[in-house]
Amino acid sequence: MISLNVNGKNYKVDVPDDVPLLWVIRDYLKLTGTKYSCGIGECGSCTVHIDGKAERSCGISVKEAKGKKITTIEGLPENHPVKRAWIKEQVVQCGYCQPGVMMQVAALLSEKPTPTADQIMSKMDDVICRCGTYLRMKKGIQTAVQMTRKEGKKV
């Protein structure tokens, strides 16, 4: 049995230590917002927060995640600036990569509330979107930054 803390809830799962966190989140906890796409950490669709940092859940074993604070897209508050900005700017097309993308952005903004263009690029070049929503993502990031600034809240 492995204990996991996901989105503020404690879970106990009976899985081998080496299982990627991704499959535990999806198959056992039924939190399917976190997506499988490449399984090798190239695309970012499976990104979650582990102790506040953006991590690829396909490349981290459930054992390594034990005892840490895990947040998935479902745990990112509904009024989070990134979620609101993504709706306002209609960023998504097929939407499959976007939960991972949004988790990547949320982690970036929590670390750097007003990121420079280079800082944005260095983080966002880690994700792939086959629909080609990159320009909308950029817009979404700007809007999320403005929302945070205006509302004076910490992301």
Binding site: Q90, D125, R130, Y134, L135
Partner: protein
Amino acid sequence: MKTSMTRRTFLKGSLAASGLTIAVSVTPFGYTLLNAAEKKDFNPNVWLHITSDNKVTIYIGNSEMGQGVLTAQSMIIADELEADWKQVQIRQGEAKDAFKSSLLGAQITVGSGSMRGFYEPLRKAGAAGKAMLVKAAAETWKVPESECKAVLGTVKHEKSKRSLTYGQLCEKASKLELPQNPPLKKEDEFRYMGKPMPRVDVPEKVRGKAVYGLDVNVKGMLYAVIARPPAYGAKPVSFDQKAAEQLKGVVKVLQIPMGIAVCATSTEAALKGKDALKVQWDKGTLPDMDNAYIEKLMMADLDKQGAKVHEVGDAKKAISEAAKKVEATYYVPCVAHATMEPMNCTAWVQNDRCDVWVPNQNQTACQGMAAGITKLPPDKIHIHTTFLGCGLGRRAFTDFVPEAVMISKALEKPVKVMWTREDDIKHDKFRAPMTHRIQGGLDAQGRLIGWSHKTSAISIMKPVNPNAIKDGVDYYCLWGLWDAPDSPHWNNRIQYEIPNLYIEFLMADLPIPCWPWRAVQNGPNAFPIECFIDELAHAAGKDPLEFRLQSLKNNKRATRVLETVADKAGWGKPIPKGQGRGIAQHACFGSWVAQVVDLSVDEKTGKIKVHKVVVAVDCGPVINPGPLVEQIEGSVIIALSTALKEEVKFAKGGVATSNFDDYPIIRMSEVPEIEVHMVKSTDKIGGIGEPGVPPLAPAVANAFFNATGVRIRRIPLTPEIVLAAIKKG
């Protein structure tokens, strides 16, 4: 969007509920509108259902892959129905004859056809509903219909200040005769069409609640992965079934025609089981095949006699007598769909029914395949279309359905088959590679007088529908250059006015399965056509824009997009030193698109940086402007990815490329500024999901020539290819 499971419950409920129900049903001659009350055996999956709770439920048969079809088709119905958008609920329909496109003859989301096929029928369905509701109100109040007006879900009688909601009227309206040709709104009366509406699928996707195929969960479901052959035609020689079945969580190993399936209680157990199989395969049908083999074979094809596709005038004579002759050979390699959600399918075969949950673009094929395997009648096959984690045409080839149905049937349990990313790329049905040899002739005034075009491609239709090949010609491979006379795709052919034109086709004999990829072969045909036009313009000593316009004198829509893009991009004005600028146009699926690309080339590293792409589009009436621009941006970006980066690698008779580490896809820092300009047009409505793709690659190659003076006649323009070309000069 409700998930498929709750959708079923909803359907049950809505069947019991009465109200006004209108469907569009295809006939051999087009389509007809149906009223549920008139027909006892009425199909419960309908376009439009108005119930006494004042809800308007719209069922959409097309698949949502991010193009916004749920929203756009609903906007059309709601607008003509004069419904309040707030009372509209939208549901994804199952596989039903009622959802077949009268344009394409199947329930299929391809060919940029959702608007082309449904614009008119959906308008009429909505308008028929409105007319019946107005009539019902007039009869209730015993006043002339002309005094009643429908406004936002309510019929009003101004004189007597009376009003009734659609919910109150639907019962009575359902007893009325349905008009086949109701009056449609005029453009200035449109309430939703042409105005930006937020897409209905966006919020749940942002919340992480949208259900894609891989997210389907059926109680008691098993997870399956399949060990698939590494080379085309390879058969398993041996595998260790025991080793896999001994693993915790593995339930069953099953050999099926597609490979060896491992079924388990979790994804990770299935994956471990697959590794434990240690399958040995034989060498397959063509173990020597690699990229060099493919290119050599297809280039050699161009020296053979092919099948005549089209001939007007005498191209050979015109070219031989021309003042100037130009000849060039082009190559466009295989590219992969690589949708972010890998292929997958969940099936549950029971004695009296079969449920299939599947992200797909072809419900008709899914249903037919499942019926074939289960021997159940089609109405017992329930196809639940989930959201699609991108489509690009791949999900219209429904090879993922039979394997899931076979396994579920054998195990008598619900089974989800997941393709790994490696499966998805190695067993993709690629965009067909093509070689082209074009000869062109100019007269003394530099006018285009002759064009002779020979091309070789892997056939798209041969493995799936050999009857579609006429006299050795697979028109699917030729879209953009030429198309069958009875094609439902309207204008997938070369737009230039050429007095002497000859087209010849060869079918490349290779075992690689190919299938439509966004814009189908319009991309691999537009590339040589638009590059060659540029070469001809150069030979004629003319400006590439002017040269194009000269051969498009009678083509209003092509001229309009070219003139618009030239104006917006500042064509002819000086550009920054070191940069190059290129132009291209192409028409397909009823829409015309022109693009201007600005780029620079680092001649030391061979890297190309695209700075800006300006696009002009004429697709006729615009339904939802926001998603339309997104589709064009997405088309430009994916096409740029193929122009600069993507090429599938083959080795040992199979696919060597396996994942995103060796199949590079464009990322954010490589994406240029994109400007999209819509040409105001009242012409026939065209498609928008694909026509943005074809002009991009040739515009890049033409801009590269403008920057360097060097022609590259193949894609992708990778640094290696660029450096080699510059060295060669």
